[in-house]
Each structure stands twice: as structure tokens, then as C-alpha cells.
Amino acid sequence: MQSDNSHLSTSPRQGTVHLEKSGTTLCLHFTGHWTIGSDFPVFTDIKDLFPESFCIPSTWNSLEVNTEALQDWDSRFLIILRDIQGYTTLKGIPFSDTGLPSGVQRLLILASSSPDTNKVREYTDTPSFFAIVGGKTLHLLEDCQGLFTFTGAITLSYLRLFTGKAQFLKSDFLYFLEECGPSALPIVSLIAVLIGVILAFVGAVQLQLFGAEIYIANLVALGMTREMGAMMAAIIMGGRTGAAFAAQLGTMQVNEEIDALQTMGIDPIDFLVLPRLSSLLIMMPLLALWADLIGIAGGFLMALTLDISMVEYYNQTINSVNLRHFGVGLFKAVIFGYLIAFSGCLRGMQCGRSASAVGTAATSAVVTAIVFIVVSDAVITVIFNILKI
């Protein structure tokens, strides 16, 4: 054996099988290695070994197995045997497992004991088109109902807060204030400055045609204050904080922590949603204001490369914006802040009880937030336009 080893290791180990007939009994002889990583015939090849008369009822009394020359086996061998067993049962020939190693016998019995169909949840087969449409519609309605219920719950919770009945931890609130404000400053600054540069650049290409480069200042200042400052801050916070809220609450849901709060007589909305929502409501306008200023600075950097003097740009900017424009942007920022925290917390609270549900909740929170932000921005812009603000 030892001397053979070097020779064996280069070629894969082999498993073979042959069929013997004696009287009305068939016997499969397995030899060699039937394991993962060895070579042996597949089930269809073994099936071909059986004589044609195999299909004729009561020609053969039983199918036996001989494994005296079998060296080792694992689950692949089991699979082959299960297939053979299934095939012979189908053909009405009794399969005798007495020749198998006792381990294989036991595993085969385990594997073939059919799962209790009672316990497995009944799934209907593919639903019809109308069932799908109906199902989706109902789901949509449920989703909308969820939105309204949650809005109501938040309103009640704020009422409790103002009457001094809501409870949450001050430390939580401070933590979220920091998380939604200072911690987000670097990324908000970076994006805002780039947006300022981009606005200025796009404007410059067009305005240069008319020799009106100086109006870049108006474009950047108005664009940042009315739209882009709040919008970009919101998109960043939606991806950053909204997703984080959903994941935090979702994990708490999985971990039964929300149940635990509830059974302690603490309202999860008060305890978890209020601090998150409030801190974002406070921080979003501040972030948007910061983004406005940084964006204008970005536009200014771009303008410098176009030979616009610093003073000129400054004057043009000051003349083009007033407090009202900032007000519009900040108003939007508050709305966006609410929507981000709302979607994050809503999806977190709705989260199922598994790890993948947490991922879904985070994704869904970001998508919901961005949809809400863009839709509400459009609505607000139209309304302000009508009101001439």
C-alpha cells in the first residue's frame, strides 16, 4: 500500500460498481472510493446497468447491495443510493439495504423520513394575474395606512412631550444631535463645495457666450440657497442618518428590544423615535445653512478662475439673495429633516425579525426618504411659485 501511494495521489481515487444476477435477485457491488473528490459513475450510468427486464413487474424479487469492497463513502454515496432506492421503489422492486454500512443505512432512513407536511406552511401555487394585482394593491394600501398611523403616533408622542409625559434619555438626544450635526459636517461640506463649483461651471459655459459671467454669482447664490443646499444636505443625511436609524431600530426589533421597552410600559415611539426625529429637525436647517455658505464659496472659487474680481462677485451675490431665499431653503430643510427621520424610523419599526430584514429596512428607508424629498421639493417649489415667495 505504502509504495503505491505516490502513484495513487496523482490520479484521482476511483469508485466502481458492477451488477450481478442470481436467480431473481439483483446485486450491486460497490468497490473503491465513493467520496467527494473521487471519480465514480453517476446515477444514470448505474441505471443503464440494470437489465431491460427490470421494468417488467415481478421479474426480480429484490435489489441488494454489496459493499464489502467499498473503501470509503460520504454524502455523495448517499445521494446515489437515495436515487437508486427511489428508482427501484418506482419500478416496484424491493430495495434491501442490509448490505450497506450501518451508518449509511441510518442516514438513508433519516433522509427519507418525509418532512411532516402538516408543519410546513402551505404555499399556494403561482397566483393568477388578478390575484397579483389585487395583492399589490392591498399591500400599497397597507403601506399608506402605515404612513398615516405612524404620523399619528408621532403627533401624539409630541403632544406627550409638550405635556411633559414623554420619556427619553437626555444622553440619547445629545448623542443623536452630535450624530446628525457635527459628525456630518465634513461630508456635507465636501459635497456642497463641489455642487457650488459645478453650478458655477455649468453657468459659466452658457453665460460666457453673452459676456455675462458675473451672473454666475446670482446663479450660484440662488441655486444654493433655494434648492441645492437643503437638497444635497437632505440626500446625504438620508443616506447616512436615515439608513442608520432604520438599521438601529430594525436591529432592536430583531433583538426583541422593542418588545422589552413596550412591556416595561415605555412607549417605543417616545423613547426611540422622538430623540432621533427632534435632533434631525434641529440639525437639518443648520446643515443646510452651512451647505449654502460653503456652496457659494465653491462658486466663488470657480469664478476666480474666470477673472471675476472678488469684490464684484461679493456685491453681485449680496444683491441677488435676501433673507427670503435663505428662508425658503431652511423651510425645505426642516421638511426634509422630518421626512428623513420619519422614513428611517418608520422602516425600522416595521422591520421583520431577521438579519436580512434589517438590510431591507435600511435600503427601503433611503429609497423612501429620497422619494419623499424630491416629491415634496417639487410640491413646495410649485406652491412657493404660486405664492410668489
Binding site: K119, E256, D259, A260, Q262, T263, M264, G265
Partner: protein, 252 residues
């Protein structure tokens, strides 16, 4: 034995959507009982606990706490009742963003007017009771699974509840710790006068502490045995219950 009824479950049907877990459950938990809920994995034991705590509304039937129907009263009243319950969740359910001490202090600071120093005293006492003295400032992620169970227990008994619910308290504990936990449960029952409802698979615990029990069956989707564990074993006609209680014949 025949003390006042604390929780009465009548004709309870539990379902998730259209998926019915159990139907026609009828039983009563009496004051001072250690009530054991048994059954195969996935038959709805944890869900039954959620119904008994008032976290989930019955699909049909009712759950009464003393004489109040959980779902016929306002949210406030239900909250009031929940406060009198201590619950140890299957997963521990410690707040992961708080230390053990803060976890245990939370119900105390929310529902009592105790000073911080007093709360701290109670917290360290409860931690000591479950053998976790000195772990006040650890976060749940920094302790082992069995320790989380015990910390969850410390939080459950923070408010000296009238009734304690345990969802598989000894799962993941070594035999010695799980015996200590059993003794602790008995001790709590006797010293606090608490009633205990416990979901467990531990035969040793079931026979050592259980004073009444039910057996939920996943196949027939209802309870198939009811009574003190010893009596249940002696009188049941169901092979499944017998097997469960004797670990398929190998437990004596």
C-alpha cells in the same frame, strides 16, 4: 393549589396572518404557580407568551389578567398591567447601546421616583442576585450568551414584578448554571411571592420546578396535555407527550 386565578386564557387562537399556530387554548395560571409551557420547536410557545404579556392581540378568544381582558381596556391600562410583569426574552433583549447597569436602571428610573443612588444600589443588588456583581459597566456585546440571559433576568426582576415570564431561560447555559437558575426562580417565587410562567425544554427543570404545565402540539395545533408535569407523565394518553417527558424513553 386553588389560589386566585392570575391569568386566564379562554379559547385562544393564535395566528400570523392566515397561518394558524394554535387554536382552542384553555388554561389558567394561578397565583404562586410555576407554569411550564412545553412543545416542539416552532409550535408557538414564544408567540403564546406574547399573547399572555399583551404584546399581541388574539385572533380569537381572550386573555384575562385577574379580571381584566387585555384587549378590552385602553392602552394605558394595558401598559399598567405590563409594568407588573417581568419578562426574560429568548434572546435576552438587552438594550445594546446601554451598559448592564443602565439596562436594569431603565425601568426603575421610568417607573419610580427613587434617587439615583438608591437606583444604583438596587441595580448592583439585582446583578449580584444573578451572579453578575461587578459587571455594571459592561455592554451586552462584551459578555457571554449565558451572562446575557442572567442580565436579562436581573432586568426582569428590577421592579419586583408580580408575575415573571421566562422564554427558555436555561437555553445556552451549562447544567450547573441552569440548576442555579432553577433555584433562583424558586427562590424568587417564594421570596417575592411572584408567579412564574416559563417556556422550557429542560426536563430536569420541568420536573424540578413546574407546578402546572401545558403541552402544545405543532401537528394538531392545539394543547394535547395539561396538568402538573408528574401527573401529566403518569396520566397522558399521548405517545408524543410521553416521549417528550421521558426524552424518547431515555430519561429517568
Amino acid at each position: 393549589m386553588t389560589t386566585a386565578a392570575l391569568i386566564t386564557v379562554t379559547n385562544l387562537t393564535m395566528a400570523y396572518g392566515s397561518f394558524v399556530l394554535q387554536r382552542e387554548l384553555n388554561f389558567t395560571v394561578h397565583q404562586g404557580d410555576i407554569f411550564v409551557i412545553m412543545g416542539d420547536s416552532g409550535c408557538g410557545k414564544s408567540t403564546l407568551l406574547r399573547h399572555m404579556i399583551g404584546l399581541k392581540a388574539p385572533t380569537a378568544g381572550s386573555v384575562h389578567f385577574h379580571d381584566t381582558d387585555f384587549w378590552a381596556v385602553s392602552d394605558q391600562e394595558r401598559n399598567q398591567i405590563m409594568r407588573r410583569c417581568g419578562i426574560l426574552y429568548q434572546s435576552g433583549a438587552l438594550f445594546s447601546s446601554m451598559t448592564l447597569a443602565e439596562n436594569i436602571a431603565l425601568p426603575l428610573s421610568q417607573h419610580t421616583t427613587l434617587a439615583t443612588a438608591e437606583i444604583n444600589d438596587i441595580v448592583s443588588m439585582k446583578l449580584a442576585l444573578v451572579g453578575l456583581a461587578g459587571f455594571d459597566h459592561f455592554y451586552p456585546s462584551e459578555i457571554s450568551g449565558g451572562m446575557k440571559k442572567r442580565a436579562g433576568l436581573a432586568r426582569a426582576i428590577a421592579l419586583d414584578p408580580e408575575i415573571l415570564f421566562f422564554d427558555e431561560p436555561s437555553a445556552g447555559l451549562d447544567p450547573i448554571s441552569s440548576r442555579l437558575l432553577d433555584e433562583l426562580i424558586l427562590e424568587l417565587r417564594d421570596s417575592l411571592g411572584a408567579t412564574v410562567v416559563v417556556v422550557t425544554h429542560e426536563l430536569a427543570s420541568i420536573f424540578a420546578i413546574g407546578s402546572n404545565s401545558i403541552f402544545l402540539d405543532a401537528d394538531s395545533r392545539t394543547m394535547i396535555a395539561h396538568g402538573p408535569p408528574q401527573t401529566m407523565l403518569a396520566t397522558t394518553s399521548s405517545a408524543k407527550v410521553k416521549q417528550f417527558l421521558t426524552r424518547g424513553g431515555s430519561f429517568h
